[in-house]
């Protein structure tokens, strides 16, 4: 069976985001960009399913600037087989991404689409669920365990109070949570080999999908800052502070 894994290029999670002075967004010039951490987990899960003999082909997809190619090459170096880059001049919102992924799914006929649960730039947590709506497939969101057997995928999901297990008929959508697995690093030889793997470049127009944004960002601001308070020197002083704050009875 085939697996489709959408991967997004985002500001590296170790970089502290800086709001641009003109209030139009977060500064992405000359900062380290990486694959969204949840998408690394999605790629890793697909590779593990391939290593188990469940999956035969892993196709990775990214939508965005031409530079998203680097992210796709990283996924290929980890072990994906083939990549599709859909370039877009403008930012594509989750609904637009889901519509493009639906068009790609129609073409590729995957049994499983594994996405990240959220992209750590816009923190939307929407795309997988939207793709599931458009395809009519089941959605195993926030997965901490994934098992494929007998034409179905059983997903343990991280929910507020603990964990919940559900089974979905294939084809299905899975979105990854952090504890699903520990992604591998691409080895140097694999990075070299990835350069020869196929990468197709498309545009949104090729799929006849309208990805015009529905939202307008009016401004982006820094959150109100907390200032550092005081340091106390002993437990007794801390207890006094707690009393002043009314924490103690």
């Amino acid at each position: 069976m085939k697996v489709l894994v959408p991967v997004k290029r985002v500001l590296d999670y170790n970089v502290k985001p800086r709001v641009k002075a003109d209030g139009t967004g977060v500064d992405l010039a000359n900062v380290k960009m990486s694959m969204n951490p949840f998408d690394e987990i999605a790629v890793e899960e697909a590779i593990r399913l391939k290593e188990k003999g469940v999956v035969t082909e892993i196709v990775v997809v990214s939508i965005g600037e031409p530079k998203a190619q680097d992210t796709l090459r990283t996924a290929l170096a980890m072990g994906a087989d083939r990549a599709i880059l859909v370039t877009s001049e403008t930012k594509v919102e989750p609904l637009g991404v889901a519509k493009l992924l639906k068009a790609i799914a129609d073409e590729e006929q995957p049994s499983l689409v594994i996405l990240g649960k959220q992209a750590i730039d816009d923190d939307n947590n929407q795309t997988g669920q939207m793709l599931a709506a458009l395809t009519g497939w089941g959605q195993g969101t926030f997965a901490s365990k994934v098992e494929v057997a007998d034409g179905a995928v059983t997903v343990t999901r991280e929910v507020d109070g603990g964990a919940e297990t559900e089974t979905f008929t294939l084809p299905a959508i899975v979105t990854t949570d952090l504890r699903l697995n520990e992604p591998r690093y691409a080895s140097l030889p694999n990075i070299m080999k990835a350069k020869a793997k196929p990468l197709a470049t498309k545009t949104a127009a090729d799929y006849g999908v309208d990805v015009a944004p529905r939202l307008t960002t009016l401004k982006v601001e820094e959150p109100s800052k907390r200032s550092a308070g005081v340091k106390v020197a002993s437990v007794d002083e801390l207890v006094d502070k707690l009393k002043v704050l009314g924490v103690l009875g």
């Binding site: 500001l11 502290k16 985001p17 709001v19 977060v26 919102e93 609904l95 889901a98 959220q118 923190d123 947590n125 929407q126 997988g128 669920q129 709506a133 458009l134 009519g136 089941g138 959605q139 969101t141 926030f142 991280e158 929910v159 507020d160 109070g161 964990a163 919940e164 297990t165 559900e166 089974t167 979905f168 008929t169 299905a172 949570d177 952090l178 504890r179 529905r214 939202l215 960002t217 009016l218 401004k219 982006v220 601001e221 820094e222 959150p223 907390r226 550092a228 308070g229 005081v230 340091k231 106390v232 020197a233 437990v235 002083e237 801390l238 502070k241 707690l242 704050l245 924490v247 103690l248």
Partner: protein
């Protein structure tokens, strides 16, 4: 504007996360509550008492047990024919269902709203709360999830809404509930606790959580939280995690113990009223947001602190 609010419940009781969502909806217009599930008449009765709601719609059907998104979303989408906005609490359940509804309605969804700036304009956190975006939608209908810490809770009592059944639920036939492991604890839930005692990687083991963090939490009547590092290391279950990808909390007092203060952790707790940090590294980033800091070894500080309270 007519708004529809998804009631968060466990089959018996309404979850607190519903209440700030009602407050957000009331800023947009008239509030109808939607109770979805199987055998939920008790929940519906409780929902009718929430102040600020005029109507409660009850979709009670075997296909809706366990809130499977595949079955719930089409029902919500068809109900939305009579409404302008659908709001869900920013819980895992809300986040599972709302985007599926938005896509069925062919509208954008706005996640985790912090404020209502106008009928089509909202603020929301991006980049783990390191930036706040003001966004406006062009779509005819709104689908929103609500950051519970950003709105006051509506009163759980005092309302007298009318109740109406909603029919038409079907099983989409693509998903099946297998089981769940829901932790039960006598402690206050993290998202509604007034005080939270949170431990990090420095605790070194689950036993140390039990022996050092819990007695302190007991003394304070506090909820217990953790950093992702502590959860990943298996010291505590995953639903203890506070942060960008865990729970978002804003208690009166948050006590961070042996937690460095990575941006992903701060994203979940920096709106707490008072932050107290105990860390042996005086340069730990957590001290940059802490109102009160104590530099030292938690293994000596915690027993002393607990005994002196």
């Amino acid at each position: 504007m007519k708004t529809l609010v998804l009631v968060e419940h466990d089959g018996h009781a309404i979850k607190d996360a519903t209440l700030p969502t009602v407050t957000a909806a009331a800023k947009l217009g008239d509030v109808t509550l939607l109770v979805v599930g199987e055998n939920v008449s008790g929940v519906a009765e409780a929902a009718a008492k929430i102040a600020g709601a005029t109507k409660v719609l009850v979709a009670d059907d075997a296909a809706l047990a366990h809130m499977l998104a595949e079955n719930v979303a089409p029902l919500v989408a068809s109900t939305m024919a009579g409404y302008d906005a659908f709001l869900v609490p920013g819980t895992t359940n809300g986040k599972n269902i709302a985007p599926r509804v938005a896509a069925l309605l062919d509208v954008a969804m706005i996640s985790d709203i912090l404020s209502v700036e106008g009928a089509d304009t909202f603020t929301r956190p991006i980049y783990a709360g390191n930036a706040i975006a003001t966004v406006q939608t062009k779509d005819a209908k709104l689908v929103l999830s609500v950051r519970g810490t950003a709105f006051e809770k509506a009163a759980a009592e005092g309302g007298s809404a009318t109740t109406e059944p909603v029919s038409g639920a079907t099983d989409a036939g693509v998903s099946r509930y297998v089981g769940s492991e829901i932790a039960t604890s006598a402690r206050p839930e993290l998202t509604s606790a007034k005080i939270i005692v949170s431990g990090g990687r420095a605790l070194q083991s689950g036993e140390n959580f039990t022996q050092l963090i819990e007695p302190l939490a007991d003394k304070l009547g506090a909820g217990v939280g953790a950093s992702r590092a502590a959860v990943d290391a298996g010291y505590v279950p995953n639903d203890y995690q506070v942060g960008q990808t865990g729970k978002i909390v804003a208690p009166e007092v948050y006590i961070a113990i042996g937690i460095s203060g990575a941006i992903q952790h701060l994203a979940g707790m920096k709106d707490s009223k008072v932050i107290i940090a105990i860390n042996k590294d005086e340069d730990a980033p957590i001290f940059q947001v802490a109102d009160v800091g104590l530099v030292g070894d938690l293994f000596t500080i915690l027993p002393e602190l607990t005994s002196k309270l």
